[in-house]
């Protein structure tokens, strides 16, 4: 719909049918008289066109002059709609009522949903919210969201954050329960908080107690962070979340050249009978291992004891011939292996559930025979640890 169409609709227009000897002349005369016609259609000797309501009366002299016969075949637009509506008041009343009902329905909260309540009772949260006006059937304007959020934080124990969002006809109460991992369990008051590890304090949120350190301070393990004492209240169980940057490091090195032994397949065996300090050759005593070999000895106790307290043993000595195998690594391969080893060692040091924010590696070469890698991981973790005051 163009702007012209909208304007015509608002003004109201008539669809006319013109018959006569020269409808072209009729069209031209109407145009020169300033009566615009639009959406014309020619069917045989008949012309149909739209004409605005205001111009309709001015059409008669033109029709008379051109000998054309003009008939109105339709009336369209807003004024006619109003006219029809006047004749059907009940329909109009129904439409208005529907609009009002639609508005009221959309301005009302019909459903209240609670998200994030795992340990807490959702019914309790709904009850507290309803005391601040947030209840199914309430108008959206009848309650203050900030007030409901504040009321939930103060009224329900165990909520650390609450938000109320309204989507259409549904109000969603989002809550975050206090995380027992974030909040250390404090056994008996009064209790201080000390640093569990060395680190640099990134943020310190004190819930109870008096802080003795500030954000940005460097602390070492055992340093006092928060004293379990509050002016006016006296001794308390200190509670705080102390997020600190903590570094862990592990070192591993790999040789560029290694020498190992590999069996050649030649094996010699010799069996002896050991009686106290005396050894009696039984079999294979004539064999002489050649070259480089590895020796292993197995002893089998025999049910025979001598007067000196010794026990007879069958001693089997195995000589396995080996040869030298030299293994050379490129510096890049050695560094990669050292890096993997350092990371594995580092993973063993990290506390459970802590994910490092950043890794850094320092590579060192020692005497061109060793590649060493020092891996360092930086974490952000809560280092507050309760320490009962004695």
């Amino acid at each position: 719909m163009t702007l012209d169409d909208l304007w015509h609709y608002l003004q109201g227009y008539a669809r006319i049918r013109v018959t006569g000897p020269s409808v072209e002349r009729f069209l031209n005369l109407a145009t020169t008289q300033g009566l615009p016609l639009w959406a014309t259609r020619r069917r045989g000797r008949v012309l149909e066109a739209n004409l605005s309501l205001a111009d309709f009366r001015r059409l008669r002299p033109i029709a008379r002059r051109t000998g054309a016969r003009v008939r109105v075949i339709g009336r369209r637009g807003f004024p006619f709609l109003v006219g029809r509506a006047r004749r059907r008041p009940l329909l109009v009343a129904g439409a208005v009522l529907s609009l009002v009902a639609l508005y009221l329905a959309s301005a009302t909260v019909w459903f209240v949903r609670v998200e994030g309540a795992e340990g807490l009772d959702a019914g309790l949260i709904r009850e507290v919210a309803s005391s601040y006006g947030l209840v199914p059937g309430a108008f959206k304007s009848s309650f203050d969201r900030a007030e409901v959020e504040r009321g939930l934080m103060l009224g329900v124990h165990g909520i650390s954050w609450a938000a109320v969002e309204v989507h259409g006809s549904m109000a969603v109460i989002k809550i975050v329960e206090r995380d027992p991992l974030e909040m250390p369990d404090f056994p008996t008051p009064p209790t201080d908080l000390v640093a569990a590890r060395d680190g640099v304090l990134g943020s310190l949120i004190v819930l109870a107690g008096t802080p003795v350190v500030r954000e940005g301070d460097t602390v070492t393990a055992g340093d006092l962070l928060v004293v379990g004492h509050q002016p006016g209240t006296g001794d308390v169980v200190a509670q705080a979340i102390a997020k600190a940057r903590v570094w862990y490091s592990a070192y591993a090195e790999v040789r560029l050249h290694t020498l190992t032994h590999e069996p050649t397949g030649l094996v010699w065996k010799r069996h002896d009978l050991q009686l106290g300090s005396a050894r009696i050759p039984l079999w294979g005593w004539w064999t002489r291992p050649e070259g480089l070999y590895e020796r292993s000895v197995e002893r089998l106790g025999l049910p025979w004891r001598g007067s000196g307290g010794w026990q007879a043993e069958l001693v089997t000595t195995t000589y396995t011939q080996v040869r030298d195998v030299r293994q050379d690594l490129t510096p890049a391969e050695a560094e990669s292996l050292a890096r993997e080893a350092a990371l594995t060692a580092l993973a063993g040091q990290l506390p459970e559930g802590v994910v490092p924010a950043e890794y850094s590696f320092e590579v060192t070469v020692r005497n061109d025979i060793l590649i060493g890698v020092l891996a360092t991981a930086e974490t952000l973790e809560n280092i507050a640890q309760p320490k009962p005051r004695h």
Binding site: T31, G34, L37, W38, R41, R42
Partner: protein, 107 residues
């Protein structure tokens, strides 16, 4: 001054002054969108109107639009629009009517 000479002078003036020729020469400005819609500004009225052919008076002659399902969308004194599927557009020059009142077609 004959019509041809006057036209030549007008065209020369329009070229020298870099003015739009449709204003100086009193000729129509025709805008065609594909073969579906046409707007004719500076027209002189509708001479013939049928779904197959529409003839429109313009300065110095007529223009004929031939096609299918032709219809005049809107008519104003300054411009008119034609819709439909156009097949052919022809311009016919008509000399000014002599004293006896009859025009003579030029082409």
């Amino acid at each position: 001054m004959s019509l041809g000479r006057r036209e030549r002078i007008s065209r020369g003036v329009a070229e020298v002054l870099e003015l739009p020729q449709d204003i100086i020469l009193n000729v129509p400005r025709v805008t065609i969108i594909g073969n579906l819609q046409m707007t004719i500004e500076n027209h002189r009225g509708i001479i013939a109107y049928s779904p197959e052919i529409i003839r429109i008076g313009i300065g110095g002659g007529q223009m004929t639009i031939e096609g299918e399902e032709l219809a005049v969308g809107s008519v104003h004194s300054e411009d008119l629009s034609v819709m439909g599927r156009f097949r052919r557009l022809t311009f016919v020059e008509v000399e000014e009517a002599p004293p006896d009142g009859r025009g003579r077609r030029k082409a």
